[in-house]
């Protein structure tokens, strides 16, 4: 019996590491960003400029990075939502079983393409395309990044939306058809409304992924930390800033601590999105 107890203990401790890990991550980001509060003070984060290395005056305003991330993410969700929802409807309701067997692995394939490869593709193919199409000086824009992020979000949102559509009870569909509704009316007026909480959760989880994406945006968005809302301007996202600057920063400097602040903001945003999405799923009984 002692062996049984020992194994149980082993499993419990393994499972607890997840909790420890979350606590450690939050604690660590907080610890490394805390010195910034003393000097130069929290107010510095609300500056409108990000100039972490300067001979005159360093500025650590997160606002241009946040607007950069928001612009790229917003644009990308603008494309992702209709494409993914229609894609999920197609896979779940319209495609023939054979088609489904082919489409689902194909979407999974897209999910497994590394972001650096997508970024490379964006650099080689998409950026020149956008440059010529809009007659710009550079193809490295927020729009370019948004397109790549759309490719990354699509598998997540399609798969989860499809789960949501499949979780709608069969009886809803039968009832609707028995009342004389056509297939299309059934899809858009019965199934989609019933699956909506799940689809919304899927979109939120997709948004979380997009905000946290690093390599592709680092490679194709041009990385200039200017506050802009133009899709055709180069922007710099929060993730790209950490990736680009952490390697060169001197340990313990204000700049170092400010990068951890960016990480903390990212963590907080994705955490909140995640929690709300889970709440929605649990509330509407869509958790597996």
């Amino acid at each position: 019996m002692w062996k049984d107890k020992a194994m149980r203990l082993l499993m419990v401790s393994a499972a607890s590491t997840s909790i420890c890990l979350v606590v450690l991550i939050f604690f660590f980001l907080a610890r490394e960003s805390a010195p910034f509060i003393v000097k130069p003070g929290l107010g510095a984060l609300f500056d409108t400029q990000w100039i972490p290395v300067s001979f005159i005056k360093e500025r650590f305003g997160l606002l241009p990075l946040i607007t950069g991330s928001a612009l790229v993410t917003g644009l990308s969700m603008l494309f992702t939502i209709p494409l993914s929802v229609l894609g999920a409807i197609y896979i779940a309701e319209i495609a023939s079983p054979v088609e489904r067997e082919f489409l689902k692995p194909f979407i999974e394939l897209l999910a497994s393409i590394p972001s650096v490869v997508l970024g490379f593709f964006g650099l080689m193919v998409l950026a020149p395309l956008i440059k010529h199409f809009f007659g710009l000086g550079t193809g490295l824009t927020a729009l370019t990044g948004a397109f790549l992020l759309t490719l990354m979000a699509i598998p997540t949102v399609i798969t989860l939306s499809e789960d949501a559509i499949n979780s709608v009870p069969r009886a809803y569909k039968d009832a609707s058809q028995a009342l004389g509704a056509s297939d299309l009316q059934t899809i858009f007026q019965v199934i989609i409304p019933a699956a909506l909480p799940g689809i919304i959760a899927a979109i939120m989880l997709g948004t979380g992924r997009v905000i946290g994406e690093t390599m592709a945006v680092l490679m194709v968005t041009g990385n200039s930390a200017l506050m802009t809302w133009s899709p055709l301007a180069p922007v710099r996202t929060m993730t790209a800033t950490i990736a680009a600057e952490m390697g060169e920063v001197s340990f313990g400097s204000i700049h170092y601590h400010s990068l951890f602040w960016i990480g903390l903001v990212l963590l907080a945003v994705t955490f909140i999105l995640n929690i709300i999405a889970q709440r929605v799923l649990v509330r509407y009984g869509m958790m597996k």
């Binding site: 909790i19 890990l21 979350v22 980001l29 896979i91 590394p114 690093t214 490679m219 993730t239 990212l266």
Partner: protein
């Protein structure tokens, strides 16, 4: 049954779906088309020369493979044990709810934040330095939720009758799990783990800060060495290399090798899943 107007809408939706499929196909085609001519045995088996402008990518391949082995060695036992707890032992309690919340949270943490955490915790605080060890641990944290979730799903798919029968014969809980649950869920666990490891293979952000070397034309000697890694190498060649245009064929070939590695892992996982789905039916 459906009217002409509805047919049009069906076709529009179908076009959206196949437009997505074509874009995916085109990306893969583009990388293969440009990468294949530059791919050769020498490219895979030789050391890079002249700062990566010539020669092969052997150290990057070895680096990525060693990272994968280390990552799986840490995350697989931890992930499977967590999944066994959640599926076999856990009752409805606050503790279980907390574990689930933690796993969901971990799954949502951006990869660059794992990189930051790895840098602060493994590299600096535990003083592992920029090393394979720090990189593996960081990647292991990142794919842990994937492995737990897919393993738990695989364990739960085993019918409860298997457990009941074993317990009724007098086996202990652990004996039951070892002989009557784990063997039947192994394929699902393997599939999920391969998908997780595929993700780790392609990730750049977490290793950027914890292990990756810019240019290091030799093989690692110990787990405290830095290594080159395929995704980071591609990033460097494509964006940081002084003669980025000149090394274009090398960039495509590197992208192709990385793509083949990752897609090979995913396809393997998909085939295992299809194979075993036919074998066990309950």
């Amino acid at each position: 049954m459906s009217t002409g107007k509805e047919q049009v809408i069906y076709w529009l939706i179908r076009m959206v779906m196949y437009a997505i499929v074509m874009v995916i196909g085109y990306i893969i085609f583009d990388i293969v088309w440009h990468g294949l001519p530059a791919l050769s045995w020498d490219f895979i088996s030789q050391y890079p020369r002249k700062g990566g402008a010539e020669g092969g990518i052997l150290p990057a391949i070895v680096g990525t493979l060693s990272l994968l082995v280390g990552t799986i060695a840490v995350s697989l036992p931890l992930g499977i044990c967590s999944a066994i707890y959640l599926s076999e032992y856990a009752e409805q309690s606050r503790f279980t709810a907390m574990i689930r919340l933690a796993i969901i949270t971990l799954a949502g943490v951006p990869s660059i934040v794992y990189g930051l955490f790895g840098l602060g915790f493994f590299v600096l605080l535990l003083n592992f330095g920029t090393s394979i060890l720090a990189g593996c641990l960081t990647l292991a944290c990142m794919i842990l939720p994937t492995i737990i979730v897919s393993s738990e799903e695989a364990l739960r798919a085993v019918p409860s009758g298997y457990r009941d029968a074993s317990l009724a014969l007098g086996a202990t809980k652990w004996e039951t799990i070892r002989t009557n649950v784990l063997p039947y869920s192994l394929s699902g666990i393997i599939t999920g783990s391969i998908l997780g490891i595929g993700r780790a293979a392609g990730e750049t952000a977490p290793i950027l800060l914890t292990v990756a070397a810019f240019y290091l034309p030799r093989l690692p000697n110990s787990i405290f060495d830095q290594v080159m890694a395929l995704p980071y190498h591609l990033y460097i060649l494509a964006t940081q290399h002084p003669e980025a245009d000149k090394v274009l064929p090398l960039q495509y070939a590197t992208a192709l090798v990385l793509l083949l590695l990752v897609l090979g892992l995913s396809l393997g996982a998909i085939f295992i899943r299809i194979h075993f789905r036919k074998k066990y039916r309950w």
